[in-house]
Structures are given as structure tokens and as C-alpha cells.
């Protein structure tokens, strides 16, 4: 069915440089269509001119200079933590440890999640045998209230920038999300970390901090209040 004039004007009003066959056919169908398209193109040229601004001469060299700085050193040493295997039924696997410090919490989050974040989510989806969440958290002087512990589908110990922490996968109405608890690390409150189609928000707790990690489409902020209210930290022998 051919496009009427009103539809055509709306289409070229949204996308004046549209060159798909249907639009071109409509454009050539009558003089008024052609005139409207020409006017839209003329306005578009003015719009392009208005939006054109000059990038600073030194911008490219400034950006390129970023690569002159030393790249992060990574030297992963897989270490089997037998003790964790005893506690985490079914969560067999290797945990890793970084022999050199991460240059920031942000790079730790990206590296840690890239290492086994997706695998943990898959394990949580597959369902793991009942885990005593609070028994594991107690070893990190933390405890999770019912609202949070009821959502945790998978938990394991994990390395953090300042020692051992916990990696948890929680079930939410947006799908599984990950909480990385760092008992001895302070973070830039509310900072967002973006990496590989994922993003995380950093939240300080009474003691230590968490990163709440989700896919780009997930609203990780939605979990902040729940985690703050339910994850109590700094409780020795919790």
C-alpha cells in the first residue's frame, strides 16, 4: 500500500535522509512529495551546519596519550581452594588470585566478573544444592537478612582487592544479578563501573562495600536499598 502525504511528511520529518525504496517511491509519486522532501533536506543541511563544532586541535593527541601509560599487569594464578569446596557444595572449581594489586576497584570488578561472573550466573540458573548463605557470610563477619538471603541463589568466596570476599548471585524480577561483597574495601559511593555490556554500582556498607553487577539493561540501582538494609557487616562471628 502506498504512503499518503501525511505519513510521508512524518517519515521525512523523522529521517530526512531516508533512502529506502518505499520512501523514494513515495517521493517520486507526486510533485508535492518531492517538494516536501527537498524542503526537509534543506532544513537538514541547516541543522547539520548548526550542530557542527570544531574539535580541539589537541584532542586526538591527548586521547592517544592514554595508551602511553603502562597497561595493567595481570598475572592470574589459579589456586584451588579446597576449603571453599568443602563449604560450597557443588561449586567445584578454581578460584583465582591476583599476584599483583589491581590498579583500582573498578578494574577489579571488571576482571573478576569477566573471569567467572557468567559461570556463576549459569550455576545459579541451573540451581545449586541448598547453601547456608549466612554460614558463609559469617566467616566474613557479615549476615544477610531474610529479604536478601531469600533471593540468593548462589554464593561462593572470592578474592577481592583486600582479601577474601563473597560472590553472590541473586534472583530479581529483572533476572539474575550479582553482588560482590568486599569486606575490607571502601569504594567511591555510587560510582558506576561499565565493562563488556555489563555495569555495576559501588556501594559502601558499615564495613566494606559491595558491587552490584547486572547487564546493561538491568537497573542495578534497584538493589541498593535492599542490600544496604539487609546486608549487615562488621559483626564479628555473625
Amino acid at each position: 500500500m502506498s504512503m499518503n502525504f501525511s505519513e510521508f511528511k512524518k517519515l521525512i520529518g523523522a529521517d530526512p535522509l531516508n533512502r529506502d525504496p518505499e520512501t523514494l517511491r513515495a517521493r517520486n509519486s507526486a510533485p508535492e512529495f518531492e517538494a516536501a522532501a527537498s524542503k526537509a533536506e534543506e532544513f537538514e543541511r541547516k541543522l547539520q551546519s548548526a550542530l557542527r563544532i570544531k574539535a580541539p586541535d589537541d584532542l586526538l593527541s591527548r586521547v592517544k596519550s592514554i595508551s602511553d601509560k603502562p597497561a595493567r599487569q595481570r598475572n592470574w594464578i589459579p589456586v584451588s581452594l579446597a576449603a571453599s569446596l568443602l563449604i560450597l557444595v557443588g561449586a567445584a572449581g578454581l578460584v583465582w588470585k591476583q599476584s599483583q594489586q589491581w590498579d583500582s576497584v573498578e578494574s577489579y570488578i571488571a576482571d573478576h566478573y569477566s573471569h567467572d561472573g557468567n559461570a556463576a550466573v549459569e550455576k545459579a540458573k541451573a540451581g545449586v544444592p541448598d547453601q547456608d548463605v549466612n554460614k558463609i557470610l559469617a566467616r566474613l563477619d557479615a549476615t544477610a537478612g531474610k529479604e536478601l538471603s531469600g533471593l540468593i541463589r548462589f554464593v561462593k568466596y572470592c578474592p577481592t582487592p583486600d582479601g577474601r570476599g563473597a560472590h553472590m548471585v541473586v534472583s530479581t524480577d529483572q533476572g539474575p544479578m550479582t553482588i560482590i561483597y568486599m569486606p575490607k574495601t571502601r569504594v567511591a559511593e555510587g560510582e558506576e563501573v561499565i565493562f563488556d555490556q555489563m555495569h555495576a554500582v559501588l556501594v559502601n556498607l558499615d564495613q566494606g562495600s559491595v558491587a552490584i553487577v547486572g547487564e546493561e539493561s538491568q537497573r542495578v540501582d534497584d538493589l541498593v536499598v535492599l542490600v544496604r538494609d539487609s546486608l549487615k557487616t562488621g559483626i564479628v562471628g555473625a
Binding site: 512524518k10 517519515l11 520529518g13 523523522a14 529521517d15 530526512p16 524542503k39 526537509a40 534543506e42 532544513f43 537538514e44 541547516k46 541543522l47 547539520q48 551546519s49 548548526a50 550542530l51 557542527r52 563544532i53 570544531k54 574539535a55 580541539p56 584532542l59 586526538l60 591527548r62 586521547v63 592517544k64 592514554i66 595508551s67 597497561a71 595493567r72 573498578e106 578494574s107 571488571a110 569477566s114 560510582e191 558506576e192 561499565i194 565493562f195 563488556d196 555490556q197 555495569h199 546493561e216 539493561s217
Partner: protein, 174 residues
């Protein structure tokens, strides 16, 4: 993992391909030359850190834009952009007639006054040459919503020009 020289080469290619457009985009988002430079710098710093994990070359542009948008949102969570530096970064008015320059300046003011929900898709379309589908994906809204916002953005700009009394060529466009 890439070697250092491969990393640097790939990074430089990205910088050459996208830094100027990202700066323009940042300028239209925040209106400040210094902040726009910082936003671009921060965006590429993150790109450099994540370069090994950026395997999908086709997704890089969108990824860079997403980082910049989020960094901007974070920066301006508690601040209102001032939009002050446009004269400083304007292109030269080579051969432009005074009327055309007036018209361009009015159009710029109109763009700055647009609600972000109209300005955002317009910037992605005009600066980055994004299709309506790509804008929809970038902004997480439907293509139909994108088309409506783009149409209304242009209508609002035309209305603003009419209100500002432009009677030259632009008037004939309506």
C-alpha cells in the same frame, strides 16, 4: 590477549575514528569545552582498560557512546549544565551570509532549549549518522518512539525559529 603494539594500534584507530564526534556529542550534552574534553578522555580511558574484552568491532561505537552518556549522567547528577562555550568552539563562518549566521545561531539556541528526550536522538542521528533502529537500541526505546521524538524535535526547532522571527529561507521550509 593483544600485545602492547597491537593494543596501541587498535586504540589509536578508535581514537582517530571517534574522538572528534564524541567531543561534539559531549559538547552538545554539557555545553562546556573543558567538561566535554574530560568526558571524552574518561571514555577513552575506560576503552583502553577494556580493550582486550572489546571483541565485537561493530559494537565499539555504541559502547563508547554509552560510556560517555553514563559518565555525563553521573557528572551532572547534581549539577545543571551551563551551555556557555559554544562561541569558543564554533566553526569559522567561512563565506556565511549574515542572515545565514543568524539563522544558524537561532537554530543552535533552539537545539539547546530542546528537552533532552528530543535532543538525544537528534544528536545521535545527525552527529553519528545513526539509523532509527540504532538510536532505539542505544536509548533502549522503540523505533516508533524514536521516530516520534525525531519528528517532534524538528517540529519544535522549526516552531522556535518561527517564534524568533526568522523569515528567510527557513520560513519557506514550513
Amino acid at each position: 590477549m593483544m600485545g602492547k603494539s597491537d593494543r596501541t594500534r587498535r586504540f589509536n584507530e578508535l581514537a582517530e575514528a571517534y574522538s572528534a564526534d564524541l567531543y561534539r556529542y559531549a559538547m552538545w550534552l554539557c555545553g562546556s569545552d573543558a567538561l566535554a574534553k574530560d568526558l571524552v578522555q574518561e571514555t577513552f580511558l575506560r576503552a583502553w582498560r577494556a580493550l582486550d574484552r572489546l571483541k565485537d568491532a561493530g559494537a565499539v561505537k555504541s559502547w563508547l557512546i554509552t560510556i560517555l552518556r553514563r559518565e555525563f549522567a553521573r557528572t551532572f547528577e547534581r549539577k545543571v549544565p551551563l551551555f556557555t562555550d559554544f562561541e569558543k568552539v564554533s566553526i569559522a563562518d567561512d563565506g556565511m551570509e549574515p542572515d545565514d549566521k543568524t539563522e544558524r545561531d537561532l537554530l543552535r539556541n533552539g537545539i539547546l532549549k530542546l528537552d533532552p528526550k528530543y535532543r538525544d536522538p537528534l544528536l545521535l542521528q545527525v552527529i553519528f549518522g545513526y539509523s532509527c533502529n540504532e538510536i532505539a537500541e542505544q536509548l533502549g526505546i522503540t523505533k516508533s518512539a524514536v521516530m516520534t521524538q525525531l519528528f517532534r524535535a524538528r517540529e519544535k526547532l522549526k516552531a522556535q525559529l518561527r517564534k524568533d522571527g526568522v523569515t528567510g529561507n527557513v520560513h519557506e521550509l514550513f
